[in-house]
Amino acid sequence: MKRLLPSLRAKKRYLAFELISEAPVSRSDLVKEIMFSASSLLGDVATSKCDIKVLGFEDWKGIIQCSHTKVKETRASLATLTRVNGKKATLHVLGTSGTVKRATEKFLQNHLVFEPEIKTKSKTAEE
């Protein structure tokens, strides 16, 4: 199939994020939860316009793609994420960029994921 011309492709923004959560989270659970919270905040129609996709997620960090005009809506729906797979979690957007490369270089490469102490402490409190 012929690829779409660059000028006709949808413009996107890439949000670099870190996940702060009690327990390790798999990518598929995170994707499911993000889509659920987006569709419950914005509704299915508006969510489809945001064009949210989780491109990569490993080691608590990842990149989410969205439409370049809907960054605000996407961020708001990411903020309403409270649990992944029943475990408490928070998604913290580190920054936005127009390309995956730049987002990775600028926000993810030198970023240390925050405080293992909270994770461990809340876990021990549960036990």
Binding site: I20, S21, E22, S40, L41, L42, V71, K72, E73, R75, A76, S77, L78, A79, T80, T82, K88, A89, T90, H92, V93, F114, E115, E117, I118, K121, S122, A125
Partner: protein, 239 residues
Amino acid sequence: MGKPKFYDFCVHAVPDGENSVEQLAALSRHLGYSGIALANHSDKLPQSRPVLPSTHEFEVFNGIELVEENPSKLHSLIGKFRKSVDVLIVHGGSENVNRAALENPRVDILNHPAFDRSSGLNQVLAKAAAENDVSIGLTLRPFLHSRGPRRVRLLSDLRANLDLARKYGVSLVLSSGAMSCFDLRSPMETLALAEVCGLEENEALEAITIVPERIISRNRPGPGHIREGIEVLEEGDFF
């Protein structure tokens, strides 16, 4: 203009919430806040006053959220705590409490005023709030944790209050209302969520930067302050 300073003015720590002040402070600093106010509910205060881990870049303000159903008791509680705290929040939730809080100029913020079938404000209360400079607090926590009909209800209450606040010039304060570390959201996410919920961009920004700063400067008068409206600007030997 430099980068704006963001404040989160309603955070609950142990024993009210789940995490300690240090953990909350560390995370909110990491998220990009310049300060938080520890505002435990007055019925769940710790035995001793917690040590606030403040540094010169990040400050933890001493606050309290008063929970009291009886208006006259509420007024006496306000008098009791006013001197010792930087931020005095009243936990609203009935007509009498809302009214008592908004008509007392010593109160800084009224949180979640909504009660059954009412958004909690009306034109009389909004006018009183503007006169006494009591801000309406919008806490994010309920918006994050509810889904479906409950959140719809919260949003429509918020809209009704926003309309009143705009008409009468009541200031707003956006805060997380966090009970644990996982309820904290970074300033940018808070702003985005507030805008999706119906605030204007500049309103939301003001509610998280300028209004909190004003509350702090009002409650921590400078060295030359004598009383409201009278201030020594320049020391000098005039006699």
